[in-house]
Symmetry: D4
Subunit: 248 residues, 8 copies
């Protein structure tokens, strides 16, 4: 690729086949070309350690399918509706659809059963789709996930009962709507980072997740950080980035 | 008072000293006069069961002092600064100032040590002034209060440790700023009404108590209702109204 | 249950059948297991005095039906659509659907005609569904309710006309949309607690109930507290908790 | 002035001293000059029926004084601090300062005692400065005002007691902070236009008057319109405009 | 009615048929009954000078039709959809539907062609439905209206061209969405009251009319007051109230 | 038109057929009529340099078609749906529909390939419709546009790679949703004006484009100004106005 | 600079003094170093065409003074208080302070009297400081400015009177607070770009400039774009960028 | 401690010195006491891995000093003003004050020069205090920090120049005000977690950091999470939690 190009340039220059002027000009513009290569995902994987994903929302099934087909290695599409899956399936018969998480991958996701893990928990049952998106994302990136649903603060015993699993986790993703109190309570019980995911679950003054978002940002427990409302993918990606660091 | 006036009217009418026309006219307008009397607090006590209070904020010390002096029975002024106290003290030497609660009364408040009680709790130490305003208000109205400070959700054990006192309370006032999660957690543990008081404690996206307010309104624990930000008086008044009902 | 478990442990220990080390470990984790029991609703009733309810919104009819079937004693589902009812009816033929209140119960609700009561009032006719949810909730929990619809402040006489019923109530639920002034006016006329329920009735700058919510939080009448927009269930639950206290 | 200019032009044209082309060009641009004259207030009075006023907020005392001195006829400055008055007094010894209303005029305001009137009412005592600004403004413009302070909805009888005065008014200005319910209640009792003035009185979720503003905009009583928060002058000006119409 | 009742009471009392005690009790509660009469609209007309209207939004066609049928004198329903009209038409064959204004009346509206008038103007063509609701409302109440559409500030000449009609009006209703500048400009040109109606016309940061609403509340031209977003009826009602005052 | 009218007036005056008084009166009112001419678009083109456009949103297809047919010269309709096109096509068979940009014109748009240009760029693929509206608008007004899609800041190299094209542009339109960072980064790299267009692309706390809008208004790069959310037309119009200035 | 470095590298490589490996490595990292040079302002001027400025707000006088002294060529500091000037003056005796605009420069600003110009206008007198910052900024960058203060829409004639100056401008900066209607009206009258600057002038629902900001973003006149509240510098900078384009 | 207590109980029980009943009762309440011990920080360290800190804001210097003195091991106070330091210094002479970071510790902080590190970067110079609080917090907890100030996106080269240091970091803290674009750009360049800290730097529509907060929550780069506005401590704490995980 890029290195080859420069090597070739230098060789030509040394061989006197191109002028110093011309090398200079080529080199000035190269670096950007060096970064901006045709095979986008390959570069992203190199730079960021995790592959690029296709955000289906706002894309037609056809657009999503074409991009899905063009990508290499691990391919992953988020916020995918059934229509997206249908279009992708046609071009890539091996594609798998995880409908609750709204994720399509080009290969069955394998769930690790041992090793460092992210605990993914929800306050209620309505938060599960967002949490599942987070959990599956981390699993797709190769990490172990332990799920715990419906452990909200209105029935504290349900949460305290899982203390062991929480305290052994390397990172916790806590999804909650309404008053979004779960991350604060969990944050006060563990030593690992807690990723708070506000969900749009609720009504009235929950304002589509704004209340949960604000509550999480004001958590009195340090060690808690927040992603966008319903952003399960972002939480799972971040958990993967943290787990990746743990392994080194 | 009013009853006397009507009685007198009826007597005059029976005695033929005034016409039916005139009685009719007087009676039509009486009811409003009957309600709107000069001695405001007396009426309020009759109608509402608890005396009217003087809200000092936005009143000059002189204004507050004059009203304080004119009121009868139990007199109580809220949001009182030192200057208000100074002015009131001059006119009413028996006035007592509770500076943390910013309340002035015309007599020392007596703390009941037994019987049904309101538990007043705070998430942190900065919430104490608001909670103290609530606690003292309920005490002024003659009810027993049990105080518990700094039992926020970041250190859950501090709260669980007080479970007995919470579960025996007839009403709980929970004051919290920041993410305002305390009422939700408490609400899930007890059977009595929980009055949530958002405080303006916090910074950044706490927006002067709005986040706590919204979180409390969205509490996943039923049995929780909310008053205005920093409204300790309102919470104490409401707790008194609930305790008053319990006694019957 | 739990007590038995501990007794057994102690017996085994005294009998020398298990080591001190092992008792120690078991005891450390016990309390949380003691709180978190398998039969969730039973525990909730014990702890909170009122049974847990199923919040149907965001649950599929199938999910709601399965949970409904598994619960014991008094079972109640809120925010239930016709589809939820259909699914529940299939599994629990005795289920009853109150469509205006959007509530499903496992037995006909009986309306008490005497004794202490909650007055449930609305500002307009559009507020009735929310008020009905509140009223029915209190009735399901076994309390008497008196309903008064369409007594908003634009025609004050309609409200003043019901003064007697309001002043005899042990708690009042006032539902209003638009400018949400009803609880303030009512609060000024009675001595019992007033639960204000903002409704999403209105248009333009009513912002789906935010204006009513804010107005109620700023009520100049003490004794008023607020629940979330359209949260009839929460208001009814709270009224029941207050009435429960009155009876003791 | 302008008329003279045009007359002169026409004379010159008739006399043949200037061409038709030139008259045409001059006339095209004249009208704007005709409108934009040096003596601003004179024109405003002609066009709008009421004189222009000096808004002191954001102006230095010196700036305010110079403008005050240059204006003719009835001169009025609003939002005036003591410093503004001091500066104006130096240049215009006859100036009068109404400190509560923060208004300076160039002549003592005369209060009419009979005839059509605007009723200016407040919910509480803290709303008086804003109401006083409104009342004085209407009086400065030559109209009769009847003031009624502290007739808020928490003590309805105080308001009902003044029914006669309210129902005889030609326009009512109702100033209220907090939940801003007063205009709705008043609006339901009278047939004249009600001008609602939200005030910044309150704390917490009153948001400096926003809650009162929103409540007033959502008034369930038709016949109510709203001006900006604390805009006493605007309310008084509008009341004057309405009273002016009544007289014709 | 009420007067009769009191007269009867007094007679019975004088005749010794009822005790003074009993009269006293009856009289205390009477006044409220005196206000709250059975025939609601009749009373509204007496008290407010204009009849009550049916707000169809949030009412089923059946509900609206039943109320429509029960009302007497001038009957008017606002925010009426075709379905409401269909249901009303069945019960009241004489009902007339003004679809653009979404108003149903029980008699054809007559448009006055002379006398004092309200000018109703819009910034753009999309504001016409709201303006038409305002105009028709004023006409239904018996007042003359002059309509002027699409005279927004982006093409100032269109507005200036109508100066005469504006300056002769007794009240102006100005409906505008987007930046809502029209009332400010008009307010600067006329002497009569200007009722600003923000409309939900616009997109993006117009926030469904909030921007127009805020702009109108901050109008630099005095004499402007504001009603709720899209509240054409409120504006028309207020204009009628002002015109009614003019005639006296 | 207007000039003729004045000429005629002057002639009559010179001829003595009308009095000086009468000319004076006529002239005073003329200027406004002079500005307000019948042929609206012609005047707009003269005054503003660019023709008026038809904003289809909120107009029925029929309304749009009638206006489209009546306009002369270059005709352009924005926010046009297929139904608008169908109606317009019927009346104006030459009309062309650019569906992605939602624009209809009365003639095929020609794309200039040389000369000064506006660069129109987007952060992602979902921003393209808004950007296309901007680009096409500028092209319709006769200016050259260079498009660059999907050059958002998450993959900086894609943007840096196009540096040359950006730095040669006379004006840049940058459309972005979500965090709206693109204009800030671009603004730091170029010397020409940057028009930032926030788009409603995103979810959760993107609030339909508000976040992008706010971010763009707070750009740390000077030379950036902002138009309304999704306002591609406004950006294209402004770019055209800037390019028009460049050519002089 | 950079080019020399690369040339030297290539020479060394050709001369065999450094390996191909080493050249490759150096070249890969060069481009970033090439962009990030020590002399920041020099680079900024090259890249952006206008020099970097010092934003004093949030900087201590000492910090501002040190940076001011280190910069070369045209130096300009904005949002400068008297204290900043004092500190800068000590290090740079030639510094000039424009207190109303809060700008410090290292040389007296010269006002051009002929040629293309930016018209800078304000709605009221309180908007002048912001407008003056804009005007002076454009003048500092070498462009001609024509100022017009207090031409707001409440007195339209004042604006129409200046039509000529507005229509000849190459760009207009319109600063307004309150309802922010000025840019819409101006935008409808001219053909050049209009830069709208919302100011924080106003009270109540002006929300520190938010209302003006929103109104300007929703301007019904195309050709208008908006900068941050009170951002006079940004408007002046943008006007300069547009004027710079005009000259080519 | 707790374990000892239980051991002792068990021994006494085995020895027959206390009844089974008594052990049972003691054990039931123990767990909470076990969690809620007097020496709070010791427990926090055990449970969370990092010591508790004193949040000085809202505490009097005296309160802060007393708590500071009572704590053991590593003691740290945040948001400390000079007055807090003065009071603490009196009781704990070894206390050290880092004024820019507003942190007080009971021992000089040692800066590690090698090993895994957190990179702490700012967009501008005004963001430094918040970033310094973050950096110092991580250093106090024993981790290495690399600081880079003023690398905002308006001058991209400054950031790209530090690519190496960024790409080697195990976690990055990016503090930015205004449009808050820095974390998005950085997030696109690295593979480690990025903690975004919105700062209250800016004016107008930056709304005290809300704009930056929203922008960061909407970051198009995955791997970015957000803490509260100006929450440097929270970011530093979280970075420490992540670095702690890396080391295992």
């Amino acid at each position: 690729m890029q290195k080859e190009k420069i090597t070739e340039l230098l060789k030509k220059f040394k061989a006197g086949r191109i002028s110093q002027q011309k090398v200079l000009k080529a080199l000035t513009s190269l670096p950007y070309q060096d970064i901006g290569i045709a095979n986008i995902d390959t570069h992203r994987t190199l730079r960021r350690g995790l592959p690029e994903v296709i955000f289906c929302q706002g894309k037609t099934p056809q657009q999503a399918a074409i991009i899905f087909q063009k990508m290499q290695g691990l391919v992953m599409a988020t916020r995918a509706e059934a229509a997206h899956y249908k279009a992708i399936k046609k071009l890539c018969p091996g594609a798998v659809y995880y409908s609750q998480a709204r994720i399509i991958t080009n290969a069955q996701v394998k769930q690790k059963k041992s090793g460092d893990y992210a605990a993914v928990i929800t306050a209620g049952t309505s938060d599960i789709p967002v949490a599942e998106e987070a959990a599956l994302t981390a699993e797709i990136f190769g990490f172990r996930v332990v799920r715990m649903w419906d452990v909200g603060v209105a029935g504290l015993h349900r949460l305290l009962d899982k203390m062991d699993v929480l305290q052994e986790a390397k990172v916790i993703i806590a999804a909650a709507g309404m008053e979004g109190a779960l991350p604060s309570v969990v944050g006060g019980l563990v030593s690992c980072p807690v990723i708070a995911v506000p969900t749009s679950v609720g009504y009235g003054a929950s304002f589509g997740g704004i209340t949960a978002l604000l509550a999480m940002l004001n958590s009195c427990s340090p060690g808690v950080s927040v992603v966008n409302i319903d952003n399960g993918f972002g939480a799972g990606y971040l958990a993967a980035a943290i787990l990746k660091g743990c392994k080194k």
